[in-house]
């Protein structure tokens, strides 16, 4: 599958992958908090999210989504396969992104197969709001089929 350029953002400390101390234990500060990247695939902007989306990190995702929309990307797929934690703040950011792209007749689909993440979408009823797919390719194909 042809892909465009891949870009990541965030300060170096937050981009760092999880590390281990000499004693083999994970130090709290070593965990990835949030890592964001995006690339273009078949004319759709795919946002890759890794780590935890919460009250602390969600503003960075919101800024990225706003930036993409401001750069005329109105069809987005947010790949959440590597998201370890999502709370209502993160849900608010995703719904905010959906509202923005819909203002331009665009779309925001999600890729997620993790039960722990899907559960919060079910609890809140947002499974009826977002298209949630198993893979990025499937999300893009579904979006293309609707066009």
């Amino acid at each position: 599958m042809p892909r465009g350029s891949s870009r990541t953002q965030g300060p170096p400390d937050q981009m760092a992958r999880a590390g281990r101390r000499d004693d083999g234990c994970m130090a709290l500060e070593d965990f990835v908090e949030l890592k964001l990247g995006h690339h273009t695939q078949d004319g759709i902007e795919v946002v890759d999210v890794e780590g935890e989306i919460d009250v602390y990190t969600a503003p960075r995702l919101r800024e990225l989504l706003i930036d993409l929309v401001n750069k005329n990307n109105y069809n987005l797929v947010v790949n959440m396969e590597r998201v370890e934690f999502l709370d209502s703040t993160g849900l608010g950011v995703l719904v905010g992104g959906l509202k923005r792209v819909r203002a331009y007749d665009g779309s925001l689909d999600l890729v997620c197969t993790q039960e722990r993440i899907l559960k919060i979408f079910r609890i809140t009823g947002l499974t009826k709001v977002f298209g949630i797919h198993d893979t990025v390719d499937e999300a893009i194909a579904a979006r293309k089929a609707e066009k």
């Binding site: 209502s88 919060i120 809140t124």
Partner: protein, 161 residues
């Protein structure tokens, strides 16, 4: 007396630490592995709401979490020191009736939701309480002049050694 008590300055970065501590104590208290994600998410929601309230009203005051092993249950109480938000509800569009949720769970007073602007203009902080009610099988939200307390618990087995 709580098994573990944590107070932290109301900064979003510390909510993650609170989640990690709560999950560790829950595991130690014998909460089933399958429920730990629920504990983590519910505690995170409660702490996020408290942090937002403190940042608006009393940023110098700490948020308090009490984690208690009650034997057959693991209880978490998140308490803030922010006064009930009585600002204009003009920007508030409730996603769920959290006052009804609180009342149904024995809350002593109706919960007053905070404005939505800190959550991308979409979800009020009260949305987090609604999420909590979907995660913990026992939730009590009580509001007083001194602040709001979210008490939630999960079944727990024998404590670890």
């Amino acid at each position: 007396m709580a098994t573990v008590e944590v107070t932290f300055t109301p900064l979003p970065a510390h909510v993650r630490t609170a989640r990690l501590v709560a999950t560790a104590v829950a595991r130690r208290s014998g909460v089933a592995e399958a429920l730990l994600d629920e504990v983590r998410l519910a505690v995170g929601e409660a702490c996020s709401r408290a942090v937002e309230a403190h940042r608006r009203h009393c940023p110098a005051e700490p948020v308090r979490i009490e984690l208690t092993d009650l034997g057959s249950r693991f209880e978490v109480v998140v308490t803030d020191a922010a006064p009930p938000d009585i600002g204009s509800d003009g920007g508030f569009s409730p996603v769920m009736d959290t006052a009804a949720v609180a009342a149904a769970n024995g809350g002593s007073a109706p919960f007053r939701p905070v404005p939505a602007e800190t959550r991308d203009g979409t979800f009020p902080a009260a949305f987090g309480l609604a999420v909590i009610s979907g995660l913990a099988d026992d939730v009590q939200v009580s509001s007083t002049d001194a602040g709001l307390s979210v008490r939630m618990s999960w079944p727990a087995g024998p404590s670890g050694t």
